[in-house]
């Protein structure tokens, strides 16, 4: 055991000091990389990172700086259970904290259903390393050989003596952290004893705060001496601030300052009373420069590019070209579209900034506090390490909180007035000033061979960049020319066998800001594939379930897992039973991120009197590998099923001339109680499979299952989402 504190670089020392480690004078890890990467928020964690997240305190409790932001997905709970498993402690012994940006090294943004799938293994190694480090302390203290020091609940047994973890913290220290390294001892990876925390239905420690109104979200933050800011925001995408006449607004009672910052597109007012802000902002005379012309969303129409085979990327082009003689009369073409959509999280975003000459602190809910830190640092002309972001639980994320624009606005205004400033977006701003899910436009040609199986599958689609949607204008053209946006293409590769399979696409940048939205391309792409599979099954006069199973045979291990969930959901929903009039069952499935297989059956009822398409029931079987907390996973599946209903029947943004027409929940429709189906969820676990992606997986096939059920009920095929009774029977 070495004391390495003298060899820690300044940045590392800073966060160790902030978390109390250096003050405690305890051992810190030896092999940790001393260099902080410049842009770490997109890189996966390694085991050295993980060993800095977990500490044993003198009272024996575990402090866990969880490297995931919480927005309801429950990753903080699942990872706490991983820590508890490795250390063998009850839930009451774990204090899971969301770290401030200076308390741990930067970690990857919270996106992509990676909380358990990417972070569970490093967290388990971190906790296991700590356990083995403590074991070494017990060996030293007892004088017994390591073979006689056995791990027990909350500590070790060495001969006749028991050591609680707290007993092993040196008297002059406050806490113990691990040496790095021991990758052999993770119980998650090598399951050498009965599980005690993994697989349990632990309840999230925040639940009581949530149901009593004590949970603090961004909008609830208050700081001493806090002022209130708001701004006039661009009237359309790409508008830049040209001129502002404050017309005496500065002198109005309650107004502290008018902050005009042309370079940063900010026309803001800071007041000592938040109630006066709307009226005061209306008095500002703000002139905007609006961009000429518009690369409008009409560009996202696949039929424009098909005649000339003008697609930027080919995902796959494999197999034998089909013999035209075998497919005569049994071919089909269909086009599918999905709409632009908003995240519409229930909490409109907000932030508090406290910027003075020496320090700058930000309180906000965001999926990437380090990205926010970097943006604020650039705006203020300071180093990123001089900004501290205090992240809070988000009132919904869904990909929409990678940016936190109010944090930037609040920082500029706080820097101006030298006092804490709160900025809260209202619902209209939340709908109009963020980035969005782009439209998707698909065309699929397919045909059957003499066995009634798919001879060819030619799928072309266009949409906009998603992962690179937020790329600055200066680099976007270069990126677009060389990089295929994997987010746009997520889920676009059909899992089914075909004699010849070709999938091409283009990610076309328009002037509509686009970025991460739940599942990225997975749900729109799966809607097209799984609708077309239903159409081809119909053409082949084969049951849609059997048709899918036939095409998954010998297609690989993930296809086998997909077959299993298809069979499971068929059992669950009693697939094949006769349906009453105006009722239909539809099935669809997906493999998500090559980790999770999921299948959904929808039961749709058509009410001709009230002119309504209603999703009555949804059944879902999912295999996401090891389930760390079944309750959390089932809740995520539930949310995804509801999102599938939204995609199928509800959500649509209309964007004209750079302006979003929807401003609130009267014009942007989301599913409500009376429309929400009964749900039945079943989880399968393929043995020896690590935790897979959960937060977006069941969303992928749900809209297609609903569309296929609608076809079964009516004989009419919904190919453009969202649909309703009137568009169906138009």
């Amino acid at each position: 055991m070495k004391f390495m504190t003298d060899h820690i670089d300044p940045d590392r020392r800073r966060f160790l000091t902030n978390t109390g480690w250096l003050a405690a004078g305890v051992t810190v890890l030896a092999s940790c990389s001393g260099i902080l990467p410049v842009l770490p928020t997109t890189g996966n964690p390694d085991n050295d990172d993980a060993s800095t997240w977990i500490q044993i305190l003198a009272d024996g409790r575990v402090r866990f700086f969880c490297p995931r932001m919480e927005m309801g997905q429950g990753a903080t709970l699942g990872l706490s259970q991983i820590v508890a498993e490795e250390l063998n402690v009850p839930q009451s012994q774990i204090n899971c904290l969301t770290p401030d940006s200076d308390q741990v090294q930067p970690f990857k943004m919270t996106v992509g259903s990676e909380g358990l799938s990417v972070f569970s293994v490093p967290v388990s190694h971190g906790a296991a390393s700590l356990r083995e480090h403590l074991r070494a302390l017990a060996v030293a203290k007892s004088g017994l050989p390591i073979s006689e020091v056995t791990h027990m609940r909350g500590g070790f047994k060495a001969g006749d003596v028991s050591f609680g973890f707290g007993d092993l913290v040196p008297v002059d220290a406050e806490l113990v952290v691990a040496e790095t390294g021991d990758e052999q001892s993770s119980y998650l990876v090598r399951n050498t004893r009965p599980r005690q925390a993994i697989g349990e239905r632990w309840k999230h420690p925040d639940l009581e705060k949530i149901v009593t109104g004590q949970m603090i979200y961004s909008r609830d933050v208050s700081r001493p001496g806090m002022l209130f800011g708001d701004a006039v925001r661009p009237p359309r995408f790409g508008a830049t601030l040209k001129k502002v006449d404050d017309k005496g607004v500065r002198d109005l009672p309650g107004v502290v300052s008018v902050v005009i910052d042309l370079a940063n597109n900010l026309a803001g007012v800071v007041a000592d009373n938040p109630m006066i802000l709307p009226g005061v902002l209306e008095m500002l005379d703000v002139q905007w420069q609006t961009p000429e012309g518009s690369a409008d969303a009409d560009a996202l129409d696949v039929s424009k590019y098909r005649p000339t085979d003008d697609f930027e990327h080919t995902l796959v082009d494999e197999g034998d070209s089909p013999d035209p003689d075998t497919i005569r009369g049994k071919t089909h073409q269909a086009m599918y579209t999905t709409s632009s959509m908003a995240h519409a999280a229930m909490e409109p975003r907000a932030a508090v900034a406290d910027v003075n000459d020496k320090t700058a602190e930000i309180w906000c809910g965001c999926q990437d506090p380090y990205f926010v830190r970097g943006r604020v640092a650039a705006l203020l002309g300071r180093g990123a390490e001089d900004i501290v972001v205090h992240p809070l639980r988000m009132g919904g994320g869904f990909g929409g909180r990678v940016l936190c624009q109010p944090a930037e606005e609040a920082a500029l205004m706080s820097a101006h007035v030298g006092k804490p400033v709160r900025v809260q977006w209202d619902r209209e701003t939340e709908f109009q000033q963020n980035y969005f899910q782009p439209k998707f436009s698909h065309a699929i040609d397919s045909g059957l061979n003499e066995r009634g199986e798919i001879a060819f599958w030619h799928h072309d689609f266009v949409s906009a960049p998603i992962i690179f949607g937020l790329a600055p204008k200066s680099v976007a053209p270069v990126l677009d020319a060389f990089v295929a946006d994997e987010g746009t293409a997520r889920g676009a590769l059909s899992p089914y066998r075909a004699d010849h399979k070709r999938v091409r696409y283009s990610d076309i940048r328009t002037d509509v800001p686009t970025g991460a939205w739940r599942g990225l391309g997975a749900a729109p792409n799966t809607f097209a594939i799984e609708s077309m599979m239903d159409e081809m099954a119909h053409l082949a006069e084969t049951d849609p379930l059997d048709f899918r199973l036939t095409h998954l045979r010998t297609a690989g291990p993930m296809a086998d897992r997909l077959s299993s969930v298809l069979k499971s959901v068929a059992d669950l929903s009693k697939w094949g039973r006769p349906a009453p009039d105006n009722t239909g069952l539809g099935i669809a499935c997906a493999i998500y991120k090559n980790q999770t297989s999921v299948a959904v059956v929808a039961e749709v009822k058509i009410d001709h009197q009230s002119r309504a398409v209603k999703v009555a029931r949804l059944w879902c079987s999912q295999d996401c590998g090891l389930v760390v907390n079944p309750d959390q996973v089932e809740n995520q599946v539930l949310g995804n099923l509801v999102w599938g209903c939204n995609l199928a029947l509800k959500e649509k943004l209309d964007i004209q001339n750079g302006v979003v027409e929807q401003t609130n929940f009267d014009s942007y429709n989301v599913l409500r109680f009376d429309e929400a189906p009964q749900t039945f969820i079943h989880l399968l676990e393929t043995a020896d499979t690590p935790p897979g992606a959960v937060g977006e997986s069941a969303f992928a096939p749900t809209a297609a299952a609903i569309a296929n059920a609608t076809f079964a009920a009516t004989g009419k095929r919904p190919r453009h989402l969202p649909f309703d009774y009137d568009t169906l029977f138009a």
Partner: protein
């Protein structure tokens, strides 16, 4: 007499035009009642006025003069204050919340529903709760939690 969570409330005249939601959050510092839409469309700001569910963003303080306002913070006091209200407990037992932001409003709507109808079926629940959006999609669990609270009452 006007009361807020059981305590008498005297309001200066200058407060009468302030919305109940803004009053609760920025003057009474009761942050459990949430802003969602500002137009009475989403239910996140639901409180109880004389035991009925109301959208606090749609009321001014002048509207609640002489009435009893209960927020999520005052809910457990209505059942003695030493434990959670049965609806809050049911929310935990069914592990309803995901992000949790809409849930204080959902709970206040559910409490008002159960006061009027002690054993609502799913159709009653859907009808009463239609104005409360949960973007995370926990509707099915909320229905279960309300039924559980009704059964255990």
């Amino acid at each position: 007499m006007t009361t807020l969570n059981g305590k008498p409330l005297s309001l200066p005249r200058s407060m009468l035009d302030v919305s109940l939601l803004d009053y609760l959050r920025d003057h009474a510092h009761l942050k459990g009642t949430k802003f969602g839409c500002g137009q009475g469309l989403c239910g996140a700001c639901t409180v109880n006025v004389d035991g009925t569910a109301e959208r606090s963003c749609q009321l001014n303080m002048s509207d609640v003069l002489g009435h009893d306002v209960t927020t999520i913070e005052g809910l457990s006091a209505t059942v003695g204050g030493d434990k959670l209200h049965p609806v809050q407990q049911a929310w935990i037992d069914e592990a309803v919340p995901q992000c949790g932001y809409c849930q204080p409003g959902q709970i206040m709507a559910a409490v008002a529903l159960l006061r009027q109808n002690a054993s609502p079926d799913d159709a009653d629940i859907n009808d009463a709760m239609r104005g409360n959006i949960c973007r995370c999609g926990t509707y099915d669990r909320i229905r279960r939690a309300i039924s559980r609270a009704a059964a255990e009452a």
